[in-house]
Structure formats: C-alpha cells, structure tokens
Symmetry: C2
Subunit: 339 residues, 2 copies
C-alpha cells in the first residue's frame, strides 16, 4: 500500500506537507502555500540565516538511515549552525529533489522527522519547494533564527591564552557511521548509542544561547567537519594557533568500550566530524563562570599566539595537528556522511 | 586551462565565491564564511522568505544554457517570488551540489550570473553551501526580502468582479524553450529575444513594489507554472472563479511573428509558464489608478463568483480553462524547464 508521488501530484504533495506543518502562526502569519512566507522577528533582532544541502550517496545512504532520522538530521545540522552563532532558531524552509523510488509515505516520514526536530528546538516549517530528481534524493534546508543585535559569537574572536572548550563528547558520530557501514546491528546498547548519535544528532541550541548571553565567549563554531578542521577555521579566522591535549578529549564510555572499531577512539574524536557539539573559546580567568553555566563543556586546550595547531599527547610529546576532517571535492575523499 | 574543483578544494572554492560576493555590508554585518549570516532588516519590517530548487535534466539543460544565464535565472526565479508578495529583496543564500564535470571557471561564471542579477535588484549574496554531487548539477536558492508589516499581497484576496491583470507579455519563455530544444540559433532577432526571455527572465520587483504600495491590489502571484495554473492557484485560494478573454492576452510581437513554432501563440501564453510576470487582481473601479502606476499591465479578464475558470474566445465562445501549466511528478510530464 505505498502511494506513488505521481498519484498525488506536486500540489497534492504540498497539501500533505502543509498538514504536517502549521499553516500560519503568530510569528509566521503566512506560512506554506503562498509565493513566499511572511515572518515576524522580535523588534531590533538580528536575523541569522544558514543553509545546508544533503545529497544521497554523498551525505547519506538510504540503506543505513530511515526517513524519519534523515528528516531529523537535515533539520538538526542547520539548527546547529544557528546554535554556533548563539541564536534562537525560528523558521525553516526545505527544498527537496525527490527521486521516483520514494513513496508518499517516505516523504511524509521525512517531514515528520523534520518537524519533530524543529518543534523540539522552537522552530517551525514555513516554506519550501518540491521537485522531481532523476536519481538521487536531494535535500536543501535553510534555517532562520534570531539573536540580540550586536550579540553574536563569530569564528574570529579567539585570543591567545583563551581556553578551548567543547560541549558533550567527540567522535561518537563518526564511530557510529563506521559501525553502520560495517552492517553492525544495534543490539549492543553501546553500538546503538553511537549509531543514534550519527543518525539523529542533537543541536546544542540551549547551550549556544547560554554561552551567548554570558558575554564571555570569544569565538564559537559547531563541530561538523571534525574537531581539527573546525578548530582550524577558528584559528585561521582569528589569526591564532592552538594547543590541544589528547588526554582532555571528552570521549563517551560507548566510544571507549566498543571494540569492533578499526581506529583508536582519539582519532574519531580529532577528525571524525558530524558531532554537532559546540567548540568555543573564552578567556582563562572566566573558566569558573563557564563551568557555572552548566553546558557540559570540557576544556581541551588553549589558544596560542603561534599560528599553528599542535596535539600534546598524554606523555607530553607535541605533534603537529593538521585539519583532518571532511572537505568536499578533495581527491580520494571517501563518501558517505553528512556535514 | 580549466581548473578542476578538486585542485582548489571546498574551502578554496568558498574563498573564491566570497570574493565575488561582498564579505560584509551595512545590512549584512556577517556574510559568507561563518556558521550563519547575520542580517539586519528595517525596524518593524516583515521578513519574506522563499526557496526554489533547480536540478539539471529536470529544470535546465547545460547544452542549452550558459552558466552565467543559469546563475541569473536561479536568482531571478526566487526574486520573482519576493516580487509577487510586493516585497523588497535583500539577501540570498545558495546551496550547490556540483558534479565532477564542472570546472572552477564554470562555478565562477555561475556566481557572476547570480550576483549580477542580485545587484540589479538590490539584493546581496550572504551565504550558502557547496558540496559534491555524483551526477547532476543541483542548485538551491533561498531569497529573503522585506515588506512593511501588514502590507503583503497574498494569493487569497481576489473578489468576484475584480479585474485580472498581467504585467508584460505571456508565452515568450515557453516559446524560447521550444526554440532552444529544436536547436534554433538566435540569428533571427525575434528568436533571440524569446530565447533570452527563457534564459534570463526579469523579475518584476519594481512593479510588485508599486502594486503593493498602491494598496488597491487584492491578490497577486508570479506566472511560473503557466497562466492557467497560476490563475488557478489564485481562484482556489480565494474561493472564486475567473473568465479570461483570449483576445486580451498580451502577446509580444516576437511570439506573434516567429513562425517556426509548433503551437499557436495563445497556447504558449495560456499554459507555457516561466514568464515570471505578475498576475494580479484589483477592484474594477480602480482600473484608472492601476493604469496610472505604469507597471505595463494588461486587463485579461475578471474574477467570477462561480468557482470555475473559462476562456472566452474572440468570437464569444466560452470554453472551460483547465490548469495546464507545469506540475512536478505528473505522469507523462515532459521535462526540460525551470519553475
């Protein structure tokens, strides 16, 4: 009993999607169904806008993700960019290129994932576009949020001496992807948790807000490409370097205990990517204040004047730390995950 | 001397794109290069947001469009949605899925088309995403604009007795597409003009603003799917019907004179699509005021209480008018053009 999208047509499909989203709200007096959505921001707010595209075969594999999780993740990776600016998410637009292989139920399930994630973080679906795609499922999400004027945390404010923090744990998502690709079933609860972190990441919205409002964070980014890459972005845009301590890396007990992984836990943490945790810097004298914010952050290193990145091992050896995360278009780049 | 994107990498490509766009402006204090763009609207404005996806092989064919025109059109179709709400365009985000066949020069040329079009209509590129696509070139554009609060023209305000207007001429773009597909060269200036209208449509931003500010327009939509389809959207959302007069249809002299077309000019005008003209309604007693706005609009019919659409021929015969424009996912739908 799978309904083909051609049985419903484009406008029938839009009508279905409209039902899963709200047609209009106080903040979105005109939602899905007109030429453009009409949206209200708080007076004097700064608008935040970000967009991310996910393509089947490049960012995800329909053999290893269900449609609900894919919808959730498509929203979550964009919400994470709003979190990294310290903003409040408000509105979401989704453009989908839908291949003939997907059914109406698939698309409905995808949108259930999107709207469930949005709702959990205070945002609403207000518009989009649907079209036919010859082969791959293509997802493009735009997230709009807001922040107080002059209160946004960019990537460019890190200063020498600042401590480097990261929320949550690192490496779980990349380990989950490896387990998924190897066909691991999630009977083992540890494996299940790593896979869940890969399929349904949690954007750190509340943490980003607290850090922004505190006024003591000098730079922030979300960990999407991998810690070494994303810290590289902060260093480059701030004109500084960094020293990271291997033994400070926050590793989950699941990542430490699952022994079917091909690489050491530290490697997943340093270059795995897709953790969607917040990586931020703050002056060293503010450490107690940061800890009092209860954002589950760990100090993993310090910003240096010297413009290079290093990893200090448990035994005190110093190694250069190269950005090792994911970058599109690199030769020999392996595929298979979203960022 | 074509540079492959893999020689440059994702971050190198983003740096190139950033150079074609402005890094920050008064209205966009944080543009390309951070987690999200930070944008300022006029105090008390309503934010307008719209998104459109274009996929190679579905919406365009790289054999019949150059990259500059494709960039222009990707921006223009989204600008047209802002025009249809009576808004001022402000900010643009582009997400691209780039196949291995495209070079750095291709993408640079694409962005030159995007930014040339944006600049002409007062908007700036503030962010986006680039990723690898296995086969098709995928383009997703989000346009943000603004309008005075409580001043937006939706699709749902048409009233029985209102006159139906359309700006410019209809059918040129669809005729241009047919000529392109048939391999017509643009030596004939008439053919060239029709093809240009297809490849580089002009969004009716100034016209939309004038119509909005006038306060006498009851509903508006842009002609993207085709007149009969788009008028159908107004009728459905307003709960009314329409009568359209065949001999009032604004046809360009190029469309009337090119005789290598397979279908009559009227047919292109009624169901061709992609004209990106503004279709709107206004009370009959306001006709002189509408004409004084100088938006190059033609009266093509009237809104009726009866909820169906009819075409009145030159000789006075009345035929049912079915929505005949483009709809994605319809069985047997021919491909090859953007909307």
């Amino acid at each position: 009993m799978h309904m083909r999208i051609s049985d419903l047509g484009e406008f029938g499909l839009i009508e279905r999607i409209r039902k899963t989203a709200s047609r209009s709200t106080r903040r979105a007096p005109i939602g899905i169904g007109d030429d453009a959505a009409a949206l209200l921001l708080s007076p004097s707010a700064t608008l935040l806008a970000t967009t991310d595209m996910l393509i089947e075969g490049v960012h995800f594999d329909l053999k290893t993700t269900d449609l609900f999780s894919l919808g959730w993740k498509s929203a979550a990776v964009n919400l994470s960019d709003i979190a990294a600016m310290g903003g409040e998410p408000r509105f979401c637009l989704t453009a989908l290129g839908i291949p003939p292989s997907l059914t109406v139920e698939d698309i409905t399930e995808f949108y259930r994932g999107v709207t469930t994630c949005l709702k959990k973080f205070g945002a609403v679906l207000v518009g989009g576009d649907t079209c036919a795609s010859p082969k791959e499922f293509v997802i493009s999400v735009t997230m709009l949020g807001e922040s107080e004027r002059k209160r946004m945390i960019t990537r460019s404010g890190a200063k020498p001496g600042d401590l480097i923090y990261v929320t949550g744990t690192l490496g779980d998502s990349a380990a989950g992807l490896e387990l998924l690709a190897a066909g691991a079933k999630s009977r083992n609860p540890g494996v299940g948790k790593l896979i869940e972190k890969h399929l349904r990441p949690v954007p750190r919205i509340a943490e980003g807000r607290k850090l922004n409002i505190s006024g003591i964070v000098s730079s922030m980014i979300d960990v999407s490409d991998g810690l070494s890459s994303d810290l590289g972005h902060i260093c480059e845009q701030s004109g500084v370097g960094a020293e990271v301590f291997a033994d400070r890396m926050p590793l989950s007990k699941e990542l430490r205990s699952v022994n079917s992984l091909a690489r050491p836990a530290l490697e997943f943490a340093l270059s795995g990517g897709e953790d969607y945790e917040l990586l931020f810097t703050s002056p060293v004298e503010r450490e107690r204040e940061i800890m009092s914010l209860r954002v589950r952050a760990t100090v993993i290193g310090a910003i240096t004047r010297k413009k290079s990145m290093h990893l200090v091992t448990e035994k005190g050896a110093v190694h250069p730390l190269a950005p090792g995360g994911y970058e599109h278009f690199r030769r020999g780049q392996q595929r298979g995950s979203a960022r």
